[in-house]
């Protein structure tokens, strides 16, 4: 079977999973069909991208998969009616951090493809699975049959304006905001100082 054929089958499978998930959500929790579909689609994008990130041997691809996963998360944010955060997600991660990663990958290009991906993969895998199981159990125990009160669902959601006001509000978050800016400055300076090439400043010394 040719490669394009296989890709097409995978596409069909994913489509089936998405639509099936939508139907399932609709029937089980009476989620609107398209909402459920979108949720399942974004969840699949996120988790699949994540799995690809941790499994891909080629780091550049891993970076691309990371972006895919983060894009799915941005979609989840949209579903959670936090569009500002979604946009920030896309802007910061895909626009900045991903570029940063690609740069790092390319600067360390000679080691982009290590022979063995993992060290002690089985213990780690067991630990991660155990963690996931534990978290799932806790979530199920605590939030399994919890439903939000209707008025909260219908309340007017605080939008970007409120966030902006809160970020510069004296009673609000102005202090963390300033501290975050300070942290960013420090991180920038630190990154420059750490990553600056040694013979760069030697060159400067030479004039």
């Amino acid at each position: 079977m040719s490669e394009s054929m296989r890709n097409f089958l995978i596409f069909l499978l994913i489509l089936a999973v998405v639509i099936g998930g939508g139907v399932l959500l609709n029937s089980l929790f009476s989620v609107p069909f398209f909402l459920g579909v979108t949720f399942v689609a974004f969840g699949l994008i996120t988790l699949g991208g994540a799995v690809a990130v941790v499994t891909t041997r080629n780091l550049f691809r891993a970076t691309i998969w990371l972006m895919v996963s983060l894009f799915g998360i941005a979609g989840l944010f949209v579903l959670l009616e936090a569009p500002f955060l979604a946009a920030v997600q896309v802007l910061v991660y895909i626009g900045a951090i991903a570029i940063l990663f690609t740069f790092a990958v390319m600067l360390t290009r000679s080691l982009t493809q290590l022979k063995d991906r993992y060290n002690r993969p089985y213990a780690t895998l067991a630990a991660s699975v155990l963690l996931f199981a534990f978290l799932t159990w806790v979530i199920w125990q605590v939030w399994g049959n919890w439903t939000p009160s209707g008025d909260i669902m219908l309340a007017t959601i605080s939008d970007t304006t409120d966030l902006g006001v809160a970020l510069v509000d004296k009673e609000g978050l102005v202090l963390p905001f300033e501290l975050a800016s300070l942290l960013l400055t420090a991180a920038m300076i630190g990154a420059i100082v750490i990553a600056r090439d040694v013979d760069e400043d030697e060159k400067e010394k030479r004039g």
């Binding site: 780690t124 630990a127 963690l131 534990f134 159990w137 806790v138």
Partner: protein, 859 residues
């Protein structure tokens, strides 16, 4: 603190008399402090700036041996620049000038205030004293309110005084020292001024000033003016403290300060073995006496609860009580407490004033620089002893009365009379045979002090005071003159040395110590100096005549005559044989005094120079600093030495029926009354005995003194002056007295050898024994034993240390090391391993929490 000082000096210069009195001993003290501080600063600066301490010969005199033979001249001492030494001299002289100014201000102020009363009789004077007391108290500030208390007591001419509490000893119970009611026993130091120490305040600063001026010239070429002036300033401070003190403790402090200074000044040229031997001798001998004196002071304190003169002497109850209490010691022999205390104090004075058994240190004290000799012999030291006795006189007298129709003598009086009279004659005999110019003066000092002691013993304390003053003047004069003579001789000696043929002069008088060396102090090397140093000669002549008691003209005559008159009066009117004994002894002593004085003058100045040194003797140029400063004080002192006696001329004195006393009616007898007012005079308790008038005129003592004085001078002139000795001619006295006696006299009756034999040698032997047996044998063995024990213990501990402590101390690190080596495997620096461990821990903890929470939810 600062403003206290400022107020003090402001008060002093504003004329507050009591503060002036406080400041009198302060100025020399300040000069001492200033000079010492400057020296210290100089030293520090040199240390800091790292200036190498260049040593120079202790005498940077132009000639090698200045004032002191031989081994001293090239003795290196740290160099002090000239400006520094001159600054030190200036500080000293200026301080004494200020002292003199204040002292005389006080004295003449006292004369003005006491004036009327002093010539009147006791009662009127008492009344006057009262009122003066009042306005004095009115004008002194509230600071010394005790004035009122003292003024309320019957108090002869009133006293400037000021007291500050020195150490608060709390309130002593009255049973122990119940003699002074209302006196708490907190010890107060203070100053006061009364006629007696007014007279000393007239004499002492003047003499000290002359000595300082003289020292400037005398020490000019010495390298250690700073040290010298600092010490001599401290000396003066001690003397002045003693004079202005109003209690026995402060007096004793000044006393001891003088002892210390005399020690370090006699040994000023410590490079000279004889000098530091003399210093040690003086110190030791006076210590012996001072300890006894301190015993007396302590006993007095324990009895009276106070040492303030006025609280004791102007307080009849106290005096009677002390006089009537049997002594705790020797009480069996009828000693009263007063008697015992007095005896102790007299012994202290015997040490200080060099009386018979303890006189041996004084002749050696001339090893120090001549100004120091003058200080000791005239101004300060020996006078202090006599002054202390006069000050405490009522206590000495106790309940006895040497002036009564049947005179009674308390033990200290008897002791003083006998010892004083004997010492006077004894020292005079020794002085006859001396050939060292200063030694003669030293023995004359001893004998004159003997005069004073004897006079005190027979109750003639006014005469004693009088003689103290006059003697201070002419003896200071004589010492400084002899010092300049020696200086001149040394100039001559150096001149001879310069011209190379110094040593071919045969020094056949080798008996006097180092034969090979020329002794500039030997009178037999002098002669004919009259033309070389005329000023010195004339002043020396004046002082000598005054010492010899040349009739009618000199101060010495009047004072000696008064002593003789007092003693003769006692024998004549009351038939007391102690008076007679004193009279006879002192008459012979006076004769000998006149004799050896004439002998000294003749040998030194008359005739022809017997050596080249004397030939070239000079004070180094007529207007050189040395000559000026060494002759100015002589000129200052001469008039006092001559005419100071006129203040004591009795009003009824006449000779060959010529009433000479009339001439001095204006001032004659002034001294007598003035000094008498220092002493208490209560009608009750028998203290009016101190206010006897001067004895009526009697030709016998007058004739005696005139005759002995003139006779001594005449015989001396016949033997030495008429045909002066040639060079190398032996002392004619040898033919007269015979070799052995002469030698005995010259050897001071072998008393030093005796002391060596019975005191020094045994003590040295004991010391050696102690060193050998006690120290080396016992103490050292004990120490060695202890050390051995500790060594053994140390070894044991060392073993324990190596075994136990090191075992533990090393075991812990080893264990830690092993554990660390084990734990290091986990610390492999691989972050992901760490994170895995963290994750596992989180899982475990989370599961535990979840289970517990589930249990909670379930319940």
């Amino acid at each position: 603190m600062i403003d206290t000082i400022v107020n003090f000096f402001a008060g002093v210069f504003a004329g507050d008399k009591s503060l002036m009195l406080w400041s009198i001993p302060l100025w020399p003290l300040l000069s001492f402090a200033a000079i010492s501080g400057l020296t210290l600063i100089l030293w520090l600066v040199r240390q800091i700036t790292g200036t190498p301490e260049n040593m120079i010969p202790a005498s940077d005199h132009r000639y090698a041996d200045h004032n002191h033979p031989g081994d001293y001249g090239d003795m290196p001492v740290p160099y002090q620049p000239y400006w520094f030494r001159i600054t030190a001299m200036v500080i000293g002289v200026v301080s004494i000038l200020i002292t003199l100014y204040f002292a005389w201000t006080l004295v003449f102020g006292a004369l003005d205030e006491f004036g009327a009363g002093t010539f009147g009789l006791a009662d009127s004077a008492a009344a006057h004293g009262e009122e003066v007391a009042e306005d004095e108290h009115a004008e002194t500030e509230a600071g010394h309110g005790e004035e009122a208390g003292h003024a309320a007591e019957p108090c002869a001419p009133c006293i400037y005084g000021n007291e500050v509490t020195w150490l608060a000893l709390g309130n002593a119970d009255d049973s122990a020292n119940g003699f002074v009611e209302g006196e708490d026993s907190s010890h107060e130091i203070g100053v006061f001024l009364d006629p007696l120490n007014a007279t000393l305040l007239f004499m002492v600063p003047l003499a000290i000033l002359c000595i300082f001026l003289y020292s400037v010239g005398y020490m000019w070429h010495d390298a250690r003016q700073a040290k010298f002036f600092a010490l001599i300033s401290l000396f003066s401070a001690g003397m002045l403290t003693l004079v202005v003190a109003d209690n026995l403790m402060m007096l004793f402090v000044g006393w001891e300060v003088m002892g210390l200074c005399s020690y370090s000044l006699i040994g000023f040229w410590y490079e000279k073995k004889s000098a530091y031997n003399a210093a040690i001798k003086a110190f030791t001998v006076t210590r012996v006496a001072d300890v006894v004196m301190l015993l007396g002071i302590v006993y007095l304190w324990s009895l009276a609860g106070t040492l303030n003169f006025r609280d004791i002497l102007y307080n009849p109850e106290v005096l009677q009580a002390i006089g009537s209490t049997p002594a705790i010691f020797l009480g069996g022999w009828g000693f009263s407490a007063a008697g015992l205390i007095g005896t102790f104090l007299v012994i202290g004075t015997i040490g200080k004033s060099a009386q018979f058994p303890l006189h041996v240190w004084l002749p050696d004290a001339m090893e120090g620089p001549t100004p120091v000799s003058a200080m000791i012999h005239a101004a300060a030291m020996v006078s202090a002893g006599i002054y202390a006795i006069i000050r405490m006189y009522p206590l000495f007298v106790g309940m006895s009365n040497p002036h009564a129709s049947t005179p009674t003598f308390s033990e200290p009086l008897m002791l003083m009379a006998i010892v004083g009279a004997f010492t006077a004659l004894f020292a005079a005999t020794m002085g006859v045979a001396q050939r060292d110019v200063k030694a003669v003066l030293a023995y004359s000092t001893i004998s004159q002090l003997g005069f004073m002691m004897a006079a005190l013993g027979v109750g003639a304390y006014v005469a004693a005071t009088f003689h103290l003053i006059t003697h201070a003047f002419f003896k200071a004069l004589l010492f400084m003159a002899s010092g300049s003579v020696i200086h001149a001789m040394e100039h001559g000696d150096h001149h001879v040395h310069e011209h190379g043929h110094g040593h071919d002069v045969p020094d056949e008088h080798g008996a006097h110590g180092h034969a090979e060396h020329f002794d500039p102090q030997d009178m037999f090397n002098m002669g004919g100096l009259m033309n070389k140093i005329p000023v010195t000669f004339w002043t020396f002549l004046a002082g000598g005549l005054s010492l010899a008691g040349f009739p009618l003209l000199t101060a010495g005559f009047w004072s000696k005559d008064e002593i003789l008159a007092e003693s003769w009066y006692g024998f004549n009117s009351h038939g007391s044989f102690l008076h007679l004994f004193v009279f006879v002894m002192l008459a012979i002593a006076a004769f000998l005094t006149a004799f050896y004085t004439m002998r000294q003058i003749s040998l030194t100045f008359l005739g022809k120079p017997r050596t080249e040194q004397a030939e070239h003797a000079t004070l180094g140029g007529q207007y050189s600093i040395v000559s000026i400063f060494m002759q100015l004080p002589l000129l200052i002192l001469t008039p006092f030495a001559l005419f100071a006696g006129f203040v004591g001329v009795p009003a009824d004195f006449e000779i060959l029926w010529i009433p000479i006393g009339r001439l001095f009616a204006s001032i004659g007898g002034f001294f007598h009354h003035f000094v008498i007012y220092a002493l208490p005079f209560m009608e009750n308790g028998g203290y009016e005995v101190f206010h006897v008038d001067a004895p009526p005129y009697n030709p016998v003592p007058v004739g005696t003194s005139i005759i002995v004085g003139l006779l001594g001078l005449g015989i001396g002139y016949l033997m030495y002056g008429r045909k002066p000795l040639e060079a190398g001619q032996p002392d004619p006295l040898i033919k007269i007295l015979g070799e052995p006696i002469y030698t005995t006299l010259q050897k001071r009756y072998y008393m030093d050898d005796l002391y060596n034999l019975i005191l020094v040698r045994p003590s040295q032997a004991i010391a050696r024994f102690v060193i050998a047996v006690l120290d080396k044998g016992i103490i050292d063995s004990i120490l060695h034993g202890i050390a051995y024990v500790f060594t053994v213990t140390g070894d044991f501990i060392k073993v324990m240390n190596a075994w136990l402590i090191d075992g533990v101390g090393d075991g812990i690190p080893k264990g830690i090391f092993a554990f660390g080596g084990f734990m290091r495997r986990t610390q492999n620096g691989r972050i992901q391993a760490y994170l895995l461990i963290v994750l596992a821990a989180v899982l475990i903890i989370g599961i535990i929490f979840a289970i517990s929470a589930g249990a909670v939810l379930a319940s």
